[in-house]
């Protein structure tokens, strides 16, 4: 039995983030919405996720800065940037920060859902979830 994937969706438009969560839920996933980097990091401290979808422009820290923060914390989370502001500069920065893909709004929904399906990562353990068993299809990882 495959554990349903958990995704974190960050967009300063909460309704849009919730709509994306709804779309992910239709595919049998569990998704959480956040409106800024701060809220996202709070969720990340208490839950583990298989993937992160984030907008670039957020109040406070940007999507790229969020990704850089995750890198600093050693959180290896496959991330996809979804943004209205795509240009060469953005693409370069996002790739440097480790984004798997940069999608532009309006989304090609089928393509995005397909990407979500393909994202693989072991759910990173967090202090609160040490007891959780790893997902059936993910590799065993060292816990730091």
């Amino acid at each position: 039995m495959v554990e349903s994937r958990r995704f974190l969706v960050v967009d300063d438009n909460r309704e849009f983030a919730q709509d994306l969560c709804e779309l992910l839920a239709l595919q049998g996933n569990h998704a959480t919405a956040a409106v800024d980097a701060e809220e996202a990091l709070q969720h990340l401290e208490h839950e583990s996720f298989h993937g992160l979808f984030t907008d670039l422009r957020l109040p406070g820290q940007s999507g790229v800065e969020l990704m850089e923060e995750l890198n600093r914390r050693g959180l290896d989370l496959p991330t996809v940037l979804i943004t209205a502001y795509v240009d060469e500069d953005v693409v370069q920065r996002a790739h440097s920060a480790g984004a798997i893909e940069i999608l532009s709004k309006p989304l090609d929904i089928e393509r995005w859902l397909d990407l979500a399906r393909r994202l693989t990562s072991s759910a990173r353990s967090t202090p609160a979830n040490d007891a959780e068993s790893p997902a059936a299809d993910s590799e065993p990882r060292d816990r730091s």
Binding site: N13, F16, D19, L23, I82, A84, K105, P106, L107, I109
Partner: protein, 393 residues
């Protein structure tokens, strides 16, 4: 721009060649005529050797034959006249435009003119024995060359100002378009997801309604279309230097024709010379062609002929796009390349201005040709010396 055109007349009036000077010049003109080709030859050697000019020309092949021909014509007319009138001013204005196009440093106009001046004066001194006549000739030659120089500088200033104004306008529009375009993507994103979710809901509820499904598909298609329009607009508005590479003209024309969606009643005609190629930015060239083709298609509104021709011309490559629509009103013609000028009720007036910018960045020209019916645009790109490393990005 219309007010500025008086300036050349004012400059001409300021130098005021009297009838005596004109007569002196006319007889000198007859005397020096056989010598003119040699003077121009020497001038061209001077010009093409100057490292500043060579660098500024951006690797564009200087067609010496054409240059000599134009210069001979100019010098002959400068000496023999007429020295005023609409045709005279128009030809001097064109010289200014050409100088601005090749970004000629103004100090070079002085040194270049000096080369011609010294040859003419020396010739006069050596060949006119009558001292009074000689004196009068020297004075008149100096006067006419000063007039020509003043006209060159003034017309250069005029053309440069126009160019700067248009660039600034485009830059502002570009910035505005970029920010609007990006802003529009957010609400489009929401429309896309909401329409999708609505369709999913109906599905979940087991409602099978063909009409609803059709509308959902249509709405999503339109959202994608909006997105494409924004992308194209942003692409055009970006002032990216051309990334030149070998471009096969037939191929880029085919690519431009591909997405055109011509109605069945419009005849498409394509005549490209074999093996026609250029060294240009393929994406930018394609946008120019698409823009011109779309304009032609829209002008004809359903029936007519859209013609694309490609041929070698004047040390370069020319592409002509012609339609059999109503053409462009005489009054509008001088303004077609202005940013924000449009005669279309649904156009954005940016297309031709941006086409001109792209073509200029390639060192080329785009013009509206004079045709008896319909509209015809001619794009000309100079042959570029491909082995200049400073040209590749």
């Amino acid at each position: 721009m219309r007010v500025e055109s008086q300036r050349l007349e004012e400059v001409t009036a300021c130098f005021g060649l009297d009838s005596d000077s004109k007569a002196t010049l006319a007889s000198f003109s007859d005397l020096v005529k056989p010598e003119i080709p040699a003077i121009i030859d020497e001038f061209c050697q001077f010009v093409t050797r100057d490292p500043l000019i060579v660098r500024r020309a951006n690797g564009i092949e200087i067609n010496l034959h054409c240059l000599k021909h134009s210069l001979n014509h100019w010098l002959e007319s400068a000496l023999s006249g007429p020295h005023s009138g609409a045709a005279f001013l128009e030809s001097r204005r064109r010289i200014g435009k050409a100088h601005v196009q090749i970004d000629l440093p103004q100090e070079l106009m002085f040194t270049a003119m000096n080369c011609i001046r010294s040859r003419l004066l020396t010739f006069a001194l050596r060949n006119i024995s009558d001292s009074k006549q000689c004196e009068a000739t020297l004075l008149s030659v100096n006067r006419i060359l000063d007039l020509e120089l003043a006209l060159m500088i003034e017309s250069y200033r005029e053309q440069q100002q126009d160019q700067i104004k248009n660039h600034e306008r485009l830059a502002t529009i570009g910035q505005l378009a970029a920010s609007i375009g990006h802003e529009l993507r957010n609400p489009l994103g929401t429309i896309e997801t909401s329409v999708y979710l609505m369709a999913q809901r109906l599905d979940t509820l087991g409602v099978i309604d063909e009409s609803a499904q059709r509308h959902a598909v249509k709405a999503r298609k339109q959202v994608q279309l909006c997105s494409k329009i924004i992308t194209d607009l942003l692409e055009l508005a970006r002032s990216r230097a051309p990334q030149r590479q070998f471009v096969d003209i037939e191929r880029v024309v085919d690519e431009a024709l591909e997405g055109l969606n011509l109605p069945a009643s419009v005849i498409q005609r394509k005549t490209i010379a074999p093996n026609l190629s250029t060294f240009a930015d393929p994406g930018q060239l394609r946008s120019v062609l698409v823009n011109l083709l779309e304009n032609g298609r829209d002008a004809m509104g359903g029936a007519g002929t859209l013609e694309v021709a490609g041929f070698a011309a004047k040390n370069g490559v020319a592409i002509r796009i012609r339609d059999t629509g109503p053409g462009i009103a005489k009054a509008d013609q001088p303004r077609v390349f202005e940013a924000l000028f449009t005669t279309k009720s649904h156009g954005n007036g940016l297309g031709l201005a941006l086409c001109q910018r792209i073509v200029s960045a390639h060192g080329g020209t785009i013009e509206l040709e004079q045709v008896p019916s319909g509209a015809s645009f001619l794009v000309w790109l100079p042959n570029v010396v491909a082995d200049r490393p400073e040209l590749s990005a």
